[in-house]
């Protein structure tokens, strides 16, 4: 993005190539983003060393890196990451499939909508973490519990956004499809569903975020494996470097998921009419 900056050069001053280069570097958002992170880490490292604060409270970035390498190397963090990812995405995938179908059904059937509206209004605003105790009573703390909690996180935003997307479909497109001989089922699958995809994807963004939060939170409460369990245990035994290491893995997961979604978003350009 090019934002015009006020021109500083007044008549008479000479060109300063070095300064110009530094300035153009500072105009690059990636340089700014990564550079500021490096600066913060350097500041952290230096002040921690100079003040001699205990690693129990605030480990230095270099100690965290060592912990991270250790945990990935022999500490089984890769397994925990895998377990957590599986829990998140398995439940999320079921929610995506079921939520899209359910949304399509709600949006196209007056009666289904009337019924579903009540349930959604009652259940959507409920913080899903509050369901953890009940789900443990019902399902225990194993795989089905984790799958359900991830599913519950994602299903509501996906259903709601599918309904929204289908309802906002241009009626002219439906009419055109009918005119070309499409059956109601074909209209659903080939017009309503594709026209709702950008909206469904907005639901996916929201839903996946909630799934991640819920799975990690559930792991902290009951898990023996997974990133959340690892985080909680490390905190219990005051392994602060390990706490930070897990947080960094979670942050990295967030970055990867967000960038992936941005890429998919960009590829939805064909849905734009103009």
């Amino acid at each position: 993005m090019d934002t015009p900056r006020p021109k500083e050069d007044v008549a008479g001053t000479q060109a300063r190539p070095a300064a110009t280069m530094a300035r153009s570097l500072l105009d690059d958002p990636r340089v700014l983003g990564w550079g500021s992170i490096v600066l913060v880490l350097l500041f952290w490292e230096l002040t921690a060393r100079l003040t001699g604060v205990s690693a129990l409270y605030l480990p230095r970035p270099s100690q965290i890196v060592v912990a991270l390498v250790y945990l990935f190397g022999s500490g089984g963090l890769a397994v925990d990451l895998g377990v957590t990812l599986w829990r998140i995405f398995a439940g999320f995938a079921i929610a995506l499939f079921a939520g899209t179908l359910l949304g399509l059904w709600i949006a196209t059937s007056f009666r289904t909508r009337a019924v579903a509206d009540m349930f959604i209004a009652a259940l959507y605003p409920l913080p899903k973490v509050t369901l953890i105790p009940l789900l443990i009573i019902w399902l225990g703390t194993g795989g089905p519990f984790m799958l359900t909690i991830s599913f519950l996180g994602a299903i509501f935003p996906i259903v709601i956004n599918t309904v929204l997307g289908v309802s906002q479909c241009d009626p002219g497109l439906v009419l055109a499809a009918r005119d070309l001989g499409a059956t109601p089922q074909q209209i659903m699958r080939r017009v309503l569903l594709p026209s709702a995809i950008p909206s469904i994807f907005a639901g996916v963004r929201l839903g996946l975020g909630v799934s991640i939060i819920l799975v990690v939170a559930a792991e902290m409460v009951v898990g023996k494996t997974g990133l959340g369990a690892r985080l909680y245990l490390a905190g219990q035994i005051l392994e602060t470097e390990q706490v930070f290491a897990v947080l960094i893995v979670l942050a990295a997961l967030g970055i990867v998921v967000t960038k992936l979604q941005d890429t998919i978003d960009a590829s939805l350009g064909n849905w734009r009419t103009d």
Binding site: D179, L180, W271
Partner: protein, 270 residues
């Protein structure tokens, strides 16, 4: 495609919208007319006179509240089933997530036509509307005129016996409209299809139609039926024909009164 043989007859057709929460609106009142097979009939009239409603009834998307719609075999006057119809829309209504080729092939695809035949027919339709080389573009990458040519190809590829044109050039600029009118006139003349053209443009009606039905302001009725005897092929040059000017004036004077009426009753209704 053989010569179409089915005439469309409106007998005393009326349509009243009666929503539960508002006063009923009479959209059409006692419309009787006949659309001849293989001919282009233009419907012209003030905004809101029910031209498009008439088209929707013909297509079977709306049921009239009175009167009857009949499809009649030309040879023996027997009543027959609704012939194959396709519509070209003012708003184009192209599927934005499909390419030009996929848009054109949509109707054949949902009908289960095999891929090879589907592709061949779609390609022919794309050639007919002069869009060769744009098969893999998306609608948003095309100009308005090109989009409507896709709309035309998408309708023509179905080889309809009746082509319904719902203000097909209403959303286009004047120059594009002229060029497309000429192209459409040519396509309709060569395909020999029955066509019903809803339009606001007197010029468009004269250039394209064999018969022009002038409609009254709401509630819509047929005010006049005018045959256009100007020779074909017609083009922009036709507009300089003295016969064109005479027709134009006649239709304009009919329409003027109706438009004035529509404006007055419109302001009363508002």
């Amino acid at each position: 495609m053989g010569m179409p043989a089915v005439a469309i007859e409106f007998e005393d057709i009326g349509l009243t919208f009666a929503p539960a929460s508002a006063a009923p609106t009479v959209a059409l009142e006692a419309v009787s007319c006949r659309f001849e097979p293989g001919k282009v009939t233009a419907l012209i009239g003030p905004s809101g006179c029910g031209k498009s409603t008439l088209l929707q009834i013909t297509r079977g998307f709306l049921d009239p509240t009175r009167g009857r719609l009949r499809f009649v075999e030309r040879s023996d006057d027997r009543v027959t089933a609704r012939p194959a119809m396709s519509t070209v829309w003012q708003a184009f209504n192209l599927f934005p997530w499909l390419t030009v080729m996929e848009n054109v092939a949509f109707g054949l695809d949902v009908a289960g036509v095999a891929r090879a035949e589907r592709d061949a027919r779609s390609r022919r339709a794309i050639v007919a509307v002069d869009l060769t080389g744009f098969e893999h573009r998306y609608p948003r990458q095309l100009s308005g005129g090109m989009r409507q040519r896709v709309g035309l190809a998408r309708a023509l590829v179905m080889e309809p016996e009746v082509l319904l044109l719902d203000e097909p050039f209403g959303a286009l600029d004047a120059q594009t409209r002229l060029v497309l009118q000429e192209q459409l006139a040519h396509l309709v003349e060569t395909s020999g299809t029955t066509a019903i053209l809803v339009t606001h443009s007197i010029e468009e009606a004269i250039l394209l139609a064999d018969t022009i039905l002038v409609m009254t302001a709401r509630p819509g009725r047929i005010a006049a039926r005018i045959d256009v005897e100007l020779p074909r092929p017609r083009s922009v040059a036709t507009t300089r024909d003295p016969g064109f000017a005479a027709l134009f004036d006649r239709i304009y004077s009919l329409l003027r009164d109706e438009v004035m009426r529509a404006m007055v009753s419109g302001s009363e209704g508002a």
